[in-house]
Symmetry: D3
Subunit: 271 residues, 6 copies
């Protein structure tokens, strides 16, 4: 049996530099300023097919956030919040082990967090969202937090989800949205001991790609559950995944987020 | 003073063919079948600058829905629901006259509607959303309704919002997202008596266009209120708008939605 | 088959004069004053037996509101809001096609609307409620909006429901509360193409009329669902309905509401 | 100083016959049958002017319920629940000492109670409501409980509120709705030691009586707070109140409720 | 058949001195001062086995509160609120006749009450909680009310529940938490006519007492329903109960609460 | 300046054995059985005075949970869930940097988690709660989850809070409830680089210890905010804290929780 207990994933578990929660109370007043940027990673605990762990999205969001903050944190005064592990994974509600908050619960959680961030001097608050199923609600929250708490809010992704404008390898016909080539590659890079490539198969709903409007990333979006397409619950083709591709994607994601943080630091609405 | 009371907008007020709500109760059991498609337009009542009426989004969503249903309704068995006039316009909360539902209220409304649609034989339920500020929440609702009520749910737009993958004229630098060239043109076509071109000016936050990530439609989205950019609350350049362009855009939207309905009618998840 | 698609109901679809939502944002500050009265029609989409359409209550509320505003709108500075089509029709939850909001959802909707109305200069806010099943909740909302938002709130009806102090023809024993003589008559006047008199029968729960306390409009009210009385879900006798009676009732309702608006315009609590 | 501590109000504090809550658990299965009627008095704790106690509505509802159950309880198998003391008195929110639940809280409370009543064999559930400000919400609840829990629900009042179809002495012009002649009389009968007639004055908003539509009990209802009319917060004329009149009203209320219970016991919807 | 209707429980139904709700509105401003203490008894209506009435917890909380206020009310300016009869008894949801509010409903009720208490001059607000199942939620509420409404809040019990640090006779192995020796004794003292000793048996889950951590009052608490242990739903041994023991316990509870009120009157946080 | 960024806390960041979230979906069905125990640590991000980090409670709960699971996880089939970092810290709402969920939000979160756990075969669900301010709500949740989802639920603490039956050094008079000797000692053991002993002072509200009833852990609990006692917001005496004492306490907590897990594994209600 594959054994998760002896795994060594120290690379994604190193104490992050600039952890907000390791500050002591008086330091909040001293070190968090109007210039500070707070980054809130959004993970997910949800089925990712037979080949990837439930923690996939959390692992990626956390690792990208930590690496990007390590790179530009001092320069831009970025502070890292602890990853929110349980988020909105109701498209996987059918799969035991998925742990998810309802839309209204998660919206309340995000609003509560925003209320608290607004008690500090920081103005810029960034969600780094590792789970495509959160994007819509996080977008709603970005506006809520701006209106309710006056924060400047931002929503970034380690990699743009394929159904939200991101790319996906040709073999997936643009549909590698959950457990596909890219996500599997990144896991092979970050936590190979948690990946079972021997169980990975191609799971691409080819017929949908023929549509002009109603397809992933098309002009008409649609509500789906991950078992609508196949009983294994993943959508994409993990079989070509490699750790090398994963490393490349990961480094690209880190650089992309670091650059995005630079823009966020300088962002003004323009009024 | 510009007088709205004598306006004749009969073109968007003709009795729509295939109005669901004009059925009588026993007809629901007879005429609504598993093949039927129900279309729920989402409007908005919100400030649109000094040149466009509060009803802009409702007008457009209703007109496109009616025209598309007139075109393909009989062929595809599409039924039109009454436009939801009050939706989530909290980015315009600052502007008196904007009438908006909170995110949780609107989510409850959409879920209640879905619960009721699911009592009919229809399986396909389509939001035609005229207000970009609703897109994220409507996407959340699409999944909620699929999970809660078993509906196949779809989200379409008259025209894809410029901050959500849609296009925008070059003069707007991709930022004609509210009251700009295209929206104003369509209103000049649909309801010219409600448009005040003499008050229209260019309101483009040019600086944002320089960003690579944090811009409308960029990989990093951000929370904004419509008075973050300028005190007039519109974003785009209405000055080049013409009724001719509007007619072209409108007809394109109608055709696009009609074609999308064809895909929706045939859509299967592929399992 | 009865064909709803070619119906011409232009009389109830004329562009209403003084539509609030056709104002442009700066006009809200100019034209809406402390003297202005805002009218919010409340419709319903619910089964009305085999002879009347789901939209019956919406049709009536909208038509009465439009006609009354046409009559006294300029004199009293009345502005019409778009009819709320989906309201609280849970007594018809059993009947597919009924589209209803839960009590808590509708209360939230009405409170959200009141919050927005209170951002304008208007002080007087009137519900014109076409559906008796909304009256109790709308009364609750009237007080909520007065306390929460400082509005002067009013609740009027096109015709007083027979179970709330209104009259009903003798043949109905005071129980023409849903799809009976009067409502059917008004529909025959307003939208005869939507009425199926050939399917109309007498559906009066005669036994209840013998009660002194527990009857419609009696001193003891009771919770009921529309299928408690008969499986067709209407209560009253539509068979004597005529368009002439409907016209008379409609004109009476319009005049009554117009006069009520005059009182509302002059109303002071008297402190 | 008027001393409430030595008051003897034993007449309204006698152990009620047929108290549901004094049953032991196994008795619920034995003694509560499909024939049983459960009565839930609704009181209120709210300012009643300078002359009446906060507990006025609770006192009256409890006394009428107890007396009526004493009279017909055995005959009709009626069981008394404890008076709900805190209800919806938000029209008196301005007056310290008023203790009230919000509309949504009270609706949740009533729904929770209904859920529990439905675990017994009883089918008939009656609110005896001593506070006019509860009537609308209790009516909403009657339908909710019928739909959610299958109960037959009823709403009765000790005396019909003057703004809901009840009568009021001529001197009050039909406006003795809070602390007026009748309510004060009943208190003089039930708890004279709690009444301060020396502080009672006429507080009638005469001007409202001139209205045809917008008046208490008129066809147009309106949202009001009790300090909208005068700073003392009562509406009516307590000065002609007497204990004799109170006794007569009280006995009438008891007889009326007893007779209503007989109708409730025999009530069928008629299907 | 045991007859509850002729029972005489006048000792717990005497008009309490210092009843807050018998004040008239202007007296709130005169008699309630910053020094005043308001006591809110929390009862419960829930199964208590075959030998005790549903009202057990309400009876005890009310009697202790009334007696303690009679003793120290004048000295400490204590005011008694009416007992909240329906609270959180969801551990008895399985037993018909139990009437309970959900956790969120009760939390809303307590917050609403706190909001109202805070409109008076009183600063000290005390829950006297007769039902152990309320303790956790009441503790949550104590903090909520302090934060939301600025009140000094306190939670006391007639007798400390055996699973919350209180004692229990040896024969119950510390597990007399519901319907056991002590509670039955107090009822024999307060309302002997409601007790059926002939139906009382020992119901002690002896095995749990062997645990070091996971037991009632142990360092590890656990979620339980009252039918988890036995089908009769009580936990303890009522058989040794006597009225004498009950009187002693009752007087101890009264004295204890009276002394606690003295400390509450003098309590300062110490800043 | 004290530098948190270079801190090495690898001892509390080692990949935990038996991490539930590192399982892959099919493993949930294979490895999680009716015998499995799931442990959900509850942390907190809240001010802990000038000497301890915001993350104190999270650090301790996580470290104790990981160590105990490492010890008895294989034997008892225990699985570790990721620590919930944001919980109910509203007593520290006044202190910027504290990140807390409202009571209703957290209750919804815990209920959502329980709903998901109940989709697996596991029956035993344990909160290991590092923050005393969560205890009451977690106790409420234990019952909710038992009733709603059928789980056997347990609530344990790394160390029993001093206001909930736990001990506290004599110098603190039993009041070392937040940032005192013991908590500071454990942090000196687990994460010395995050502790500033030079800023630690004695903050004990001595006067409260004189009370018999109203004191921490007394029979009367009270609602408090952490700035009620002093402006630094901690309660206890951290000055005698040592890493040695911390190690001893930590090892005791780990052993205690491991033993508790053994009891939990064998626990039956006893029916």
């Amino acid at each position: 049996m594959h054994d998760v207990t002896t795994a060594d994933r120290s690379h994604d578990r190193r104490p992050a530099a600039r952890r907000f929660i390791d500050l002591r109370a008086p330091e909040i007043g001293e070190r968090i300023t109007e210039r500070s940027i707070l980054v809130q990673p959004l993970g997910a605990i949800e089925q990712h097919g037979p080949h990837l762990p439930l923690s996939t999205d959390s692992l990626v969001a956390t690792a990208v956030a930590e690496a990007a903050v390590a790179e530009v944190g001092d320069e831009l005064d970025v502070w890292l919040l602890p990853t929110l592990e349980y988020t909105k994974s109701n498209e996987h509600a059918w799969s035991p082990g998925t742990i998810w908050l309802s839309a209204t619960t998660l919206l309340a959680v995000l609003d509560d967090i925003g209320r608290c961030v607004a008690t500090t001097a920081a103005k810029r608050f960034v969600f780094l969202n590792g789970h495509g199923g959160n994007s819509a609600l996080a977008n709603v929250a970005c506006r809520e937090l701006r209106l309710h708490h006056g924060l400047m809010t931002f929503l970034a992704h380690p990699g743009m989800p394929a159904d939200q404008g991101g790319s996906s390898p040709a073999g997936e016909l643009g549909m590698g949205i959950h457990g596909g080539t890219d996500e599997t590659s990144i896991l092979l890079h970050l936590a190979p001991e948690l990946v079972r490539m021997d169980l990975a198969e191609r799971r691409v709903p080819d017929k949908i790609a023929e549509n002009r409007y109603v397809r992933f990333g098309g002009r008409v979006s649609f509500g789906w559950l991950s078992n609508d397409f196949n009983e294994d619950g993943y959508i994409g083709d993990p079989t070509p995944a490699t750790a090398e591709r994963g490393e490349e994607l990961f480094e690209g994601a880190v650089q992309g987020f670091a650059e995005a943080l630079r823009e966020i630091a300088a962002f003004e609405y323009g009024r």
